[in-house]
Point group: C2
Chain length 337, copies 2
């Protein structure tokens, strides 16, 4: 049983919500969770951003990282996570009824950006009385959020921890495009998830775990086209279980938001927070070399930025799978707070 | 206008053709092309193997590599290329009428292996009076053929040049699986080709050529979900043009043959030919490190093998795109013949 949030609630606003695209959402619900207790002056608030398929319930995907005495120590700080606008875990998204039409948005849900997500989350923080975050932490698209936050709200955060995230390279854009093509063609999220999975794992991890073994259920790949290798059985299974927990439109919306994330030098120059950038050594979706280059770019623009090496054989997913090392890195950074 | 073959013909055999799977083809046609002239004792025959989507017409995909005075010098040698059994460029495949049923094979075409392909090609060589090849050359799945040939016919070839090929790693198997999943779901070869394309190109090549530019036709990716980045426009285009020249079943059949290629130590020990293995520095489908490891394995098994580094920023496709360097490497190896 994973740790339960101290608070889990919805923040609903009926103010018109202006998106970067020019579209307006007439009502927005944001689902959030808080682990630990906010102190009297709200100075111990840490905002955590989830990844593409994550929810506000941090402990559901960062088990072992968050809790009393853990790297994200709920005895000391209050950790807030807010499901993204456009996501299917409780916030306004494609599955929501559009008040303007009375029908579910579906494919009509507008394009959102990382900044749109943050505009929404800032309203939740204000509602909670939080003026300044002690830290903002995120991995993957969550890392993009953790880096965009001090640009969009430069006085509202002290430290940012950006894990396995940069602007997407051409290869990253290609991988996202293939996933959205798969979503376009297939009725469900199965193949898109399978394509995503290979980008989350390193070649060495796949070799070690699956190699050229036949599928563990006893199939013989030499027999016919249907019989698979173990890696194929694994990918099919991952595609299958994802269908039960994730929505097609959410996948498309957040994938597109990832595509669009990029920062100009003048935007970078507005950052006041200290930025920690964590590169995962075997990540080929967000290569460590790209994270390092981004760190250098921040420093060149006068930002207090530091690169941290996350040595793991697991690939991009190391932030989820390599819990021990992830915890160690987060703990080490926090001793500076 | 590409160089035309000296001879382009079909070899048809009505002998029952026994496949590794146990299935039997009752009649087999193999389409082949010869560039240059076989000498009187047929001692200048070089067998060239095409890649997944290639045909017997070498000059159509290796323009600049083959011709009078070129790296594959048609003044000196006769270069033979035979379309694979199971392919759609003139040989018996899924588009052929099954003599047993009177209907087109379609999805009923049996699974074939690299050894099945070579059994067929050996019959063509015998028909042409060629007892021993001066060399066998191939890239990608063609490289698998060039390495399997001296195992299956150890007295029939002097030198083998294996370019960008090894057993597929788990990541390679994963990529092939995703392509076949795309073929299963989609009516055509579009998405499968797009997935294949990213495995053929290096991240650095994609960055250099496309970066994060908007699609060159003027689309604005920030506008809506349909507007693309340049890399996405490129992949869509590659998927589209492939539909006009390639068959879905052929894709599935040859992809599966690639999956199944692997050699045991005892098979390796039967090799008598000198083996040159060329690793492409930025290839992530067949990483150079894997090609190097395979070379060491051959040497350990007593084979006369040599590793050659093909430094190119282009990724796996360098054997097609980096013509100058490819020609140089082939020329250098051939000075030893």
């Amino acid at each position: 049983m994973n740790l339960e949030p101290t608070i889990e609630a919805d923040f609903i606003s009926d103010e018109p919500f202006h998106l970067a695209s020019g579209e307006i959402l007439s009502s927005v619900k944001q689902h959030y969770a808080i682990y630990g207790e906010l102190n009297a002056d709200q100075s111990n608030a840490v905002l955590v951003f989830h990844a593409l398929s994550g929810s506000a319930r941090i402990a559901d995907w960062w088990e072992g990282i968050i809790g009393a005495g853990k790297a994200l120590d709920t005895n000391k700080n209050a950790f807030i996570c807010i499901n993204y606008i456009g996501s299917c875990y409780g916030s306004t998204g494609a599955g929501t009824v559009n008040p303007k039409t009375g029908k579910i948005y579906g494919t009509e849900f507008p394009l959102i950006t990382v900044s749109d997500i943050l505009q929404g989350q800032k309203k939740v923080l204000e509602h909670l009385g939080i003026k300044k975050l002690k830290a903002a932490i995120g991995s993957s698209v969550g890392g993009m959020c953790a880096l965009q936050f001090p640009v969009d709200f430069s006085d509202s955060v002290e430290k940012c921890i950006v894990i396995g995230a940069t602007e997407l390279s051409a290869m990253g854009l290609a991988l996202n495009h293939l996933q959205r093509e798969a979503l376009r063609i297939e009725k469900d999220v199965g193949l898109a998830r399978q394509i995503a999975m290979i980008s989350y794992k390193s070649p060495e991890l796949l070799n070690r775990r699956f190699g050229r073994n036949p599928n563990r259920n006893g199939e013989n790949p030499r027999r016919d086209f249907e019989h698979r290798f173990d890696i194929a059985g694994y990918l099919d299974y991952q595609g299958e279980i994802f269908k039960n927990r994730f929505d097609k439109e959410t996948f498309k919306i957040i994938s597109k938001a990832m595509d669009l994330f990029e920062l100009s030098d003048s935007e970078i120059q507005t950052i006041k927070a200290k930025i920690y950038l964590v590169g995962i050594s075997t990540d080929w979706l967000f290569p460590a070399a790209d994270v390092k280059r981004l760190t250098e770019r921040l420093i060149k623009n006068g930002i207090n930025a530091e690169y941290i090496d996350f040595k793991s054989p697991d690939g991009h997913d190391a932030f989820l799978s390599d819990t021990m090392q992830m915890a160690e890195i987060l703990q080490k950074i926090q001793t500076e707070f």
